[in-house]
């Protein structure tokens, strides 16, 4: 046992020698021959040619709960699963467009109902077992099985019916939809293909949920992603090693990934992540706050920080518009009367100093926001959405029209009161762990004070905040932020639809409670079956305009995606989509060729 690591290290050095040797003499013709010999169709991707070997360390916000994509719900698990699994068609995080992955090509029938995918030849799972159409059939059977309770199931039900999957031959699979689906081939992104040879038995026994725990032996699970499990130390780190059967190569036919090992350190606190990065313990950092970003950029030594531009996170204020019947206190009922008044919400929106939020909260590394689709989402951003400048006069005029008036308070300040003469006072919930949003709340508080509204900011632990907003519904207003996981606005469909669980101001309605919510529902349903991008864009633009008119969500600002990496990390190109720095993990390499893991 003692000698084992030494032997492994020696082997790895040999492999590395061989690889660099082959990289030297590799001509394209030779590569082609090698490829034909093994009947493998590697996917060649462009980009800087790296050097193989080395170990990259990144920090993770906490311990992932599972490595099983069927039960993973937390962001940390998904980040790790993202580098261990692969999908049929993938969305390139940089271009935000689809590109071939396990499927080398696909066709969509003219009526938009049948997708025919052709698999790459010679694919192998990370344990060396071959992968073919049967694995795809099995994966979709598992995803669609009701007893598995996979979160992916909802995505695969189009027009009320599950997608029907059939095998044409061992390389070709057909997907039959009951209705045209506007998202198109993007729906395949993120759907990991599961190893049938390992999971068929547990699936039949109904034990799939128990597989993929971090403590399980590495051979219990296999994936098609660039890395596979090597070692897990509870509470400290997760070590992944290079998948030698990965199906991508660089422009010179060197099989990817370059790195030997990828290590996730569990660092729960954002500030601690910055300290670890500064001290050189980790090689890359993402999801940096603007203030930490400026700390890092002021004292750069040996690393670079990058601003990838505006991301897809949108921060917004919303009021409690739930229909609570007789349940709420008289106090909340009175407040809801103001909140339901559209002119009240418009006035609040007109009073918000979005420029100040960008400057003071994000130190200029963000964009003011007036709609759900952020400017970072270049394809879907609605250029015609009005961007009214801040105007307290307009806000006061709107409030006056809605029957509000002003009185002079005991200390000489003017207070806003409603038509019954009651002062306008309410509280805004914000997550106590999110410093950015607490700051936004403090700015809003001051903005609204100038309209005569008395606002209390209530910082709350995030989970109990979510509970209040979605379960007990006892709150006045709340500031929240959501990051879309994909550029396609359908990724936020549960925010748009009045029946959606994250339609936060009034979630999970059986019937849309207002005409404009019904109108948005209809537009979103229509775009689902619209076939061209232009049609869909037009419908979504209209939905955004309705949202902007009615202001159920008062959009505030969107932060830039900020990341950093040591200068020795090659191919570091942060994207605005998740996973911000690891999306091209197979291409990342270490320039100075550090020795592999010293223990």
């Amino acid at each position: 046992m003692r000698n084992c690591p030494a032997t492994v290290a020696r082997c790895r050095i040999l492999v590395r020698l061989f690889l660099s040797f082959s990289a030297l003499i590799c001509s394209p013709a030779f590569a082609q021959a090698q490829q034909n010999n093994s009947h493998e169709e590697l996917l060649q991707i462009p980009g800087e040619i790296g050097r193989p070997g080395g170990r990259l360390v990144v920090s993770l916000r906490g311990e992932p709960k599972t490595l099983n994509p069927l039960i993973a719900a937390d962001a940390r698990s998904r980040e790790v699963i993202g580098v261990m699994q692969a999908d049929l068609i993938h969305i390139n995080r940089a271009t935000q467009l689809t590109e071939p992955a396990l499927a080398k090509s696909w066709k969509i029938s003219p009526d938009g109902l049948i997708y025919t995918l052709v698999l790459r030849k010679g694919l192998k799972f990370s344990d060396g077992q071959p992968m073919d159409a049967d694995d795809v059939l099995f994966s979709f059977r598992v995803y669609l099985d009701e007893n598995t309770h996979a979160p992916q199931r909802d995505l695969l039900i189009v027009g009320g019916k599950p997608i029907a999957v059939s095998k044409i031959d061992s390389q070709t699979i057909a997907f039959q939809l009951s209705k045209p689906y506007g998202v198109g081939e993007r729906l395949f992104d993120g759907l990991a293909i599961l190893p049938r040879h390992l999971l068929e038995k547990p699936f039949q026994e109904g034990k799939l949920g128990q597989i993929g725990s971090l403590n399980a032996a590495a051979n219990q699970w296999a994936g098609l992603g660039p890395f596979r499990l090597k070692e897990y130390v509870a509470g400290q780190r997760l070590v992944l090693e290079r998948n030698p059967y990965y199906w991508k190569s660089d422009a010179k036919i060197n099989r990817l990934p370059y790195l030997d090992e990828l290590v996730f350190l569990f660092v729960p606190n954002a500030d601690a992540q910055v300290l670890k990065f500064q001290s050189g313990e980790t090689d890359m950092i993402s999801q940096l706050g603007a203030e930490n970003f400026s700390v890092l950029s002021r004292q750069q030594n040996g690393y670079t920080v990058a601003d990838a531009g505006p991301g897809l996170e949108y921060n917004f204020l919303f009021f409690n518009l739930n229909d609570l019947g007789e349940k709420p206190s008289a106090d909340l009922q009175r407040k809801q009367k103001w909140f339901r008044e559209v002119k009240f919400r418009q006035a609040v929106s007109a009073a918000v100093d979005r420029e100040a939020i960008v400057r003071l909260v994000y130190q200029g590394r963000g964009t003011p926001l007036w709609g759900l689709v952020t400017p970072g989402n270049k394809r879907w951003n609605d250029a015609n959405l009005p961007h009214p400048v801040r105007s307290l006069d307009r806000a006061r005029a709107l409030l006056k029209e809605a029957g509000f008036s002003w009185a002079t308070g005991p200390n000489g300040e003017s207070t806003l009161q409603d038509s019954d003469g009651k002062p306008v006072e309410f509280s805004i919930l914000t997550s106590s762990t999110n410093a950015d949003r607490s700051k936004m709340a403090a700015l809003l508080q001051d903005d609204l004070k100038q309209l005569g509204m008395r606002v209390q900011v209530v910082p709350m632990e995030f989970r109990s905040l979510l509970d209040r907003v979605t379960q007990s519904k006892e709150y006045d207003a709340c500031i929240m932020g959501v990051a879309s996981y994909d550029a396609d606005p359908n990724s936020d469909i549960n925010v748009w639809l009045s029946s959606g669980g994250t339609h936060l101001w009034n979630p999970s309605q059986p019937h849309p409670s207002t005409p404009w919510e019904a109108e948005i529902d209809r537009l979103v349903e229509d775009q689902m079956s619209a076939r061209t991008f232009d049609q869909r864009k037009k419908l979504y633009d209209r939905a955004q305009e309705i949202l902007a008119e009615n202001q159920p969500m008062i959009f505030l600002a969107s932060p830039d995606i900020l990341a950093g990496a040591k200068n020795s990390v090659g191919n570091f190109h942060p994207a605005v989509l998740e996973p911000y720095v690891l999306w091209n993990v197979e291409q990342l390499y270490l320039k100075n060729g550090r020795e592999s893991p010293a223990r």
Partner: protein
């Protein structure tokens, strides 16, 4: 005589410090909640008498600051623009001592803004926040300590004077309170109370909470003194002449506890100021935007603030003179009380 003078000096120092905080509106140039969104994290401005051309100015001045282009929190001193300080100048309205409407401030700069202790994340003047924050923190300490001593005094007197089962019950209760981990108790109590409270309610909540947990120690001290005092000859004599319990306590016994109570107060006040700061630092105290010394420091929980803006530490220094003052007062009081006691005790032994 020396002892008495020491006491007077400490009282004078504390009196001046408290007067400054009490008249915060006059000494502070701005309203503590007013945001100057163009100047976040502005460093403290230095007061100059001599300009860059070596000209002496009789009126002190500061140089204006300018944002370094391309940054949002880096400033450079603009030596071409001098902002002269004006004294006793009209500015933002405030209420002196909480009720007298006034506009005159000790210093200001007319339309320009001066920040002698820099600004915070929202461009609020830190000097003004520090002074007004002192009002909240010190008042919480004073009221909390007063509340504690009142409870402790009553309970201690009852337990010591009546003895018997009252004594047993009350002292076991006191021991229980001493054994409680009070900081965590404060968290728990504050967490159970309603979340959305206005600043005034929050303030009295804190006072009640920190006041209610600390009564056990003064109660035990008072009990000890009452216990020994009630057996003194003159107390027995008075009882023999038919004095009532209330009369005995008021006339003969409780006056004996005054020096202990004063010393306790001088020790407890800074402790309770610190307790308020701890609660506010952790976000359980007075809510934003009302300043208190604790929530002025709470920004420092962020790493970026910790390493970038040194002047945000200054509120931590503000409490040092107050604490020194109170501790000095406590030891002076103790010195005054102790020899007196020793003399009396030795006399008692002789007799």
């Amino acid at each position: 005589m020396i002892r008495r003078r020491k006491l007077a000096i400490w009282l004078l120092i504390l009196g001046v410090l408290h007067a400054i905080v009490l008249c915060a509106g006059f000494f502070a140039p701005y309203n503590p909640v007013e945001q100057d969104r163009k100047n976040p994290y502005l460093p403290p401005m230095r007061v100059h008498f001599v300009d860059t051309h070596n000209h002496l100015h009789l009126r002190p001045f500061v140089y204006a600051f300018q944002l370094r282009p391309g940054t949002f929190d880096q400033y450079v001193e603009d030596t071409t623009r001098q902002i002269p300080l004006h004294f006793f100048i009209a500015g933002a309205p405030y209420r002196l001592l909480g009720f007298l409407p006034a506009r005159i401030h000790l210093f200001g700069a007319g339309d320009e803004r001066i920040y002698l202790l820099g600004t915070d994340a929202f461009g609020r003047d830190q000097l003004s926040r520090l002074l007004f924050g002192g009002q909240v923190s010190l008042l919480a300490g004073l009221l909390g300590a007063g509340f504690t001593l009142l409870i402790g005094w009553c309970i201690g007197a009852v337990a010591g004077y009546f003895g018997g089962w009252q004594d047993d019950v009350l002292m076991r209760l006191a021991e229980l309170f001493l054994a409680l981990p009070w900081l965590y108790l404060l968290f728990a109590v504050r967490a159970f109370l309603p979340l959305s409270v206005n600043p005034l309610q929050a303030f009295f909540l804190i006072v009640a909470v920190i006041g209610a947990v600390g009564w056990a120690r003064p109660a035990r001290l008072v009990r000890g003194i009452v216990l020994s005092a009630k057996e003194r000859d003159f107390v027995r004599a008075a009882r023999g002449f038919g004095a009532s319990n209330i009369y005995l306590l008021r006339r003969h016994i409780l006056p004996e506890t005054s020096s202990v109570l004063l010393t306790q107060a001088a020790i407890l006040i800074p402790q309770y100021v610190l307790a308020e700061m701890t609660l506010s630092f952790l976000g359980l105290g007075v809510p934003e935007p009302v300043p208190s010394w604790g929530n002025l420091l709470s920004n420092l929980q962020q790493y970026s603030v910790l390493v970038s803006y040194w002047w945000t530490y200054l509120p931590a220094l503000a409490m040092v003179p107050f604490f020194l003052g109170y501790l000095g007062l406590a030891s002076a009081l103790q010195e005054r009380a102790d020899p007196y006691k020793i003399e009396r005790r030795s006399l008692g032994n002789l007799a």
